[in-house]
């Protein structure tokens, strides 16, 4: 049994259900209430749950993220929404120096059961200050769990599990996905959220990706198939901690890997995955893994330049074919 809905609806339903089930859960962030959420995820929630639990905050990312940490310490289960990861830079001190370290610094006495949601990604001509893809970069920080739901089912399933996590979880929602439709199984508990997922099985090459790029990779896989290349597509889903075993199993099988990552190339998550492949399954490789990332440029406004800056289906197909030697 499953229900069809959009990614936005899935996120909304997830938050709604969590708030209904547990008084400790509340939503806090800029424009989550009266405005209805900058991506309309929390529309209607203010009326349902009231301003205490759907808490519009002033523009103060560091302040309210830190308040989320404190509220978690005080026994609540806050969902903090930062409009986009671009603005999360303002809260990075609280995220790295407090949320991610409090358990450790206190010798395990305290823990921060906080969920921070934020939109990420480019593709809407919003230019340099609204188009970062920083999820892979945040995945550098010990103490955090980083989720990147790409499917509607994950959008629905990840939030409740994140709320159960005793430690801070950051959820990156690619803004291009909000309107995407998909099926959500009735039994959410059956959705494993600790592992990467083979979204498409194949033999010749592994396309390893997450978030918005998943759909580009699946499309590329179709095209590759037409060209006689059987591509396996892996949705990483959890960017920290990475699920090495799913990756290595796939690469050991296909012996070729292409990582598709919307982050800037240098120091991106793709580099980490390449390093791990090298460390763990070097001897099974037929060719060096390659990667397709965003160009190392602040994302330009002009449509054609923005498109050129991001990984695209054609580029994936081309890189995969080159790697597969076809």
């Amino acid at each position: 049994m499953s229900n069809r809905m959009t990614y936005r609806e899935a996120m909304r339903e997830a938050i709604w259900a969590a708030m209904s089930a547990d008084d400790r859960v509340f939503l806090m962030g800029e424009d989550v209430g009266h405005y209805g959420g900058c991506y309309a995820v929390s529309k209607g929630m203010l009326d349902e749950f009231g301003p205490e639990r759907v808490r519009d905050t002033p523009l103060s990312e560091s302040g309210f993220s830190g308040a989320g940490i404190g509220a978690a310490l005080g026994g609540m289960r806050p969902i903090v929404e930062i409009m986009t990861c671009n603005f999360a830079l303002l809260a990075l001190d609280q995220i790295m120096n407090s949320a991610a370290t409090l358990r450790h610094m206190s010798g395990g006495q305290f823990h921060v059961s906080l969920v921070i949601r934020m939109a990420t990604g480019a593709g809407r001509q919003l230019a340099a200050q609204h188009s970062h893809s920083l999820e892979g970069w945040f995945a550098h920080i010990p103490g955090l769990r980083i989720l990147a739901p790409a499917t509607v089912a994950d959008a629905r399933a990840m939030l409740p599990r994140a709320l159960e996590d005793p430690d801070p979880v950051l959820i990156f929602e690619n803004a291009l996905l909000y309107n995407r439709e998909g099926d959500v199984p009735e039994d959410l508990g059956a959705i494993d959220i600790d592992h990467a997922k083979v979204e498409r099985s194949g033999n010749d090459i592994s396309l390893i990706t997450y978030g918005g790029s998943l759909w580009k990779c699946l499309e590329a896989a179709e095209k590759l198939s037409a060209a006689g290349v059987s591509a396996e597509v892996i949705d990483l889903r959890v960017l920290r901690p990475l699920d090495d075993s799913t990756i290595m199993t796939s690469v050991a099988k296909t012996r070729r890997a292409l990582i598709v990552d919307e982050g800037w190339r240098s120091g991106s998550l793709s580099a980490e995955i390449m390093a791990r492949i090298m460390e763990q399954t070097f001897w099974t490789l037929d060719a060096p893994p390659t990667r397709l990332c965003s160009a190392e440029v602040p994302i330009p406004y002009a449509k054609h330049l923005e498109e050129a800056a991001l990984p695209q289906v054609d580029g994936i197909v081309e890189a995969a074919r080159k790697l597969a030697g076809t």
């Binding site: 523009l59 200050q129 002009a302």
Partner: protein
């Protein structure tokens, strides 16, 4: 209307009305072009708030610097950035004032010292402090004007910047465009003290509040403020009470305010108000107004034409302008 220290002759009335109308008509065209998908991304219109930027730009000199926000078409236009270059920027053409790299939220223009175009709320304030510091350290008597919304007042950078400016007596004019909402968040749910200009006192900064729907009041206050700043007396904080008539951006369903409120403010709009007054006072007649509208319309049409005729930057130069050389 307050007239102190302001010569409201026919010529000046004409200028004031025209400047506001330039912004109004330009942005109406932008909205139209947005629906035609000529302009993309976020588009934040200044419609309703024109008196603020128009009043303040009157009193600036060529060497002064301006820092604005993502709602800055009006500021750019009134500061002297050619309309065609602004429009081309929104089209994403390389003839745009930021070569098509920035778009609506990131207009820049070196010849007029227009430093953007900042889409991080509050992010422009420290820049303005630094620009003013550079002027002070180089003994130049320039003023840096920093525009921002009342929503920015909650950000830590507001606090840090006001303190620095006051501590170092820097020549910055802070202009808070208080339009009562930050996206959908009304002032009283974002500030424990809603009297914005009163905050300046906690940094020992001179401040005043002005009716931002009245261009004459704004200009008078701006003159006082700019004189103060230029004299080296330190920063000044001007709160302009205003209202945005349109949605926050083109994506906003405006659930947070009711139509009646919008109607009332629109009724008291800065253009309507000034035009009516100037005509009643006999400073302008219908012929003047028609003439201005014609001039403005042709400027806007020329801007669109310029943008349409513009060209796309070749994709090969994608990596340009990340660093001085292509070494990054």
């Amino acid at each position: 209307m307050t007239l102190s220290k302001l010569r409201l002759d026919r010529k000046h009335c004409r200028t004031l009305l025209k400047q506001m109308l330039r912004v109004r008509r330009f942005e109406e065209k932008c909205a139209e072009l947005y629906t035609k998908e000529k302009i993309r991304g976020f588009l934040h219109l200044y419609i309703g708030e024109e008196a603020v930027a128009a009043g303040i730009m009157q009193v600036l000199q060529d060497e002064d610097a301006v820092v604005a926000t993502y709602r800055e078409h009006g500021h750019a236009l009134l500061r002297g950035v050619p309309a065609g270059e602004i429009m081309a920027e929104m089209y994403g053409k390389q003839e745009g004032c930021s070569r098509g790299r920035g778009g609506s939220m990131h207009l820049f223009h070196a010849p007029t010292r227009f430093y953007g175009g900042n889409a991080i709320v509050g992010g422009g304030l420290p820049l303005a402090v630094g620009l003013a510091l550079a002027d002070q350290m180089q003994a130049r008597s320039n003023v840096t004007v920093c525009f921002f919304g009342e929503g920015a007042a909650a950000e830590g950078e507001f606090h840090e910047s006001l303190n620095l400016a006051a501590l170092w007596k820097l020549p910055v004019l802070f202009v808070c465009e208080n339009n009562l909402y930050a996206m959908g968040t009304a002032l009283d749910i974002s500030e424990s003290e809603t009297d914005i200009h009163a905050k300046a006192a906690s940094y020992n900064i001179e401040s005043e509040t002005v009716d931002g729907m009245n261009i004459v009041d704004v200009e008078v206050a701006a003159r006082r403020a700019v004189d103060f700043v230029r004299a080296g007396s330190g920063p000044y904080f001007l709160e302009c009470q205003t209202y945005r008539f349109r949605a926050h951006s083109m994506f906003d369903a405006e659930l947070y305010r009711d139509k009646e409120e919008v109607r009332q403010w629109t009724e008291a709009g800065p253009i309507k108000r000034f035009q009516t007054w100037a005509m009643e006072a006999g400073e302008l007649n219908q012929g003047d107004v028609d003439e201005i509208e014609t001039e403005v319309a042709s400027e806007v049409a020329a801007a669109v034409e310029f943008a349409e005729a513009g060209s796309w930057e070749p994709v090969e130069t994608l990596l340009n302008n990340v660093g001085a050389e292509a070494r990054l």
